[in-house]
Symmetry: C2
Subunit: 210 residues, 2 copies
């Protein structure tokens, strides 16, 4: 089994945090996204979508998408449960994980990819020069991100973690999003005390260094 | 338990197809999105995100997001499994479901919401007049959608269904996406025979009418 990883990107960080929380060790290959390693012919054979991370199984099956990789490991190693236990918790974990991703992670990525010169022509992940930037998307992304922060702060007033009393993948997605968004100068307003409390608690977990 | 639904929208259709495949009956309330029912104060209390579908449990817990609702039911009623059985299948279902959504469903929604006059100011779901349209996003959406179709057709040359030999939620997401995209005049090129075979097979299932 081999994990195709890149230390500088947020998506593989979600998987690394997940593995650290579970105590799972996996062999890794670093795909240097800064030098276009994801577009090398060898990597295209592993993932024609040219994104990282990918988990390659011993039979050659390749699983792309961070949460798909985590689901694979969750089925193999259920403890500690990071996708919820009973039906309600499983639903809430998926809901908060998707909110963090759709209303936070993707909008923050839109801000970066549609403004930085280094992403010219590559405004979507896994694309090599054929996706022009749309600067207006940065404004839309900033507004979506601000809305997610407000929502999360309200939620965290009543709940220790994003999906409930337990740390789950919803916290991993939300935490990686908040850290990644800081690169796009999307900070957390000082008034959001609940969010600040939660962020400090997650940052103090050993997995945050993964 | 109550499902907040709307017959004319693609997201709730994913849940309806899922429930039909499982043979699960749930009480429903129709939220008329064409008349702004999602912005009524009563519905905002159920889902401040103003999106449909939402599942309200008997204790008042509200689960938004189609796949979160399906995960809730999958935990309660595991048979027939629609999210995969072993670890590899679970990973592949999540991967193909996410591809269909991120590279097909969301881009098709971008095409519609950034071009139709009826979505002026409402270019994102659950937003009431504060999200301007970005016409360039329609071009990007069309290109992403075309790429997904090519990928799916290649996949379906070797696989009966999107994630493998079994019908799963990945097929539900992909099928609803293809049907929904037709509204945005995004058709399937005739050359994609595998995709046409798969689409006809899914359309023939009773759940396709849900």
């Amino acid at each position: 089994m081999m994990l195709y990883d890149f230390a500088g990107a947020p998506s593989p960080r979600r998987v690394r945090m997940y593995l650290a929380e579970k105590g799972i060790e996996v062999s890794r290959v670093e795909v240097d996204l800064r030098r276009g390693g994801q577009f090398a012919p060898g990597y295209r054979a592993i993932n024609p979508g040219c994104t990282v991370p990918v988990l390659e199984l011993d039979d050659g099956t390749c699983i792309a998408e961070s949460m798909a990789i985590c689901r694979f490991f969750e089925a193999l190693y259920p403890e500690p449960p990071l996708f919820g236990t009973d039906a309600t918790e499983q639903g809430l974990v998926e809901m908060w994980s998707r909110r963090a991703e759709l209303e936070g992670y993707l909008p923050a990525a839109d801000v970066l990819r549609n403004t930085l010169r280094s992403f010219a022509g590559r405004a979507l992940p896994g694309r090599d020069g054929d996706v022009p930037q749309i600067p207006e998307l940065a404004d839309r992304g900033r507004a979506s991100f601000a809305r997610l922060l407000e929502r999360l702060d309200t939620r965290l007033a009543d709940s220790e973690f994003a999906a409930g009393p337990r740390f789950t993948v919803a916290d991993i997605t939300a935490f990686v999003t908040v850290e990644f968004a800081a690169r796009a100068k999307l900070g957390i307003p000082e008034a959001y005390a609940n969010l600040a409390r939660w962020r400090a608690a997650v940052a103090a977990r050993p997995s945050a260094g993964a």
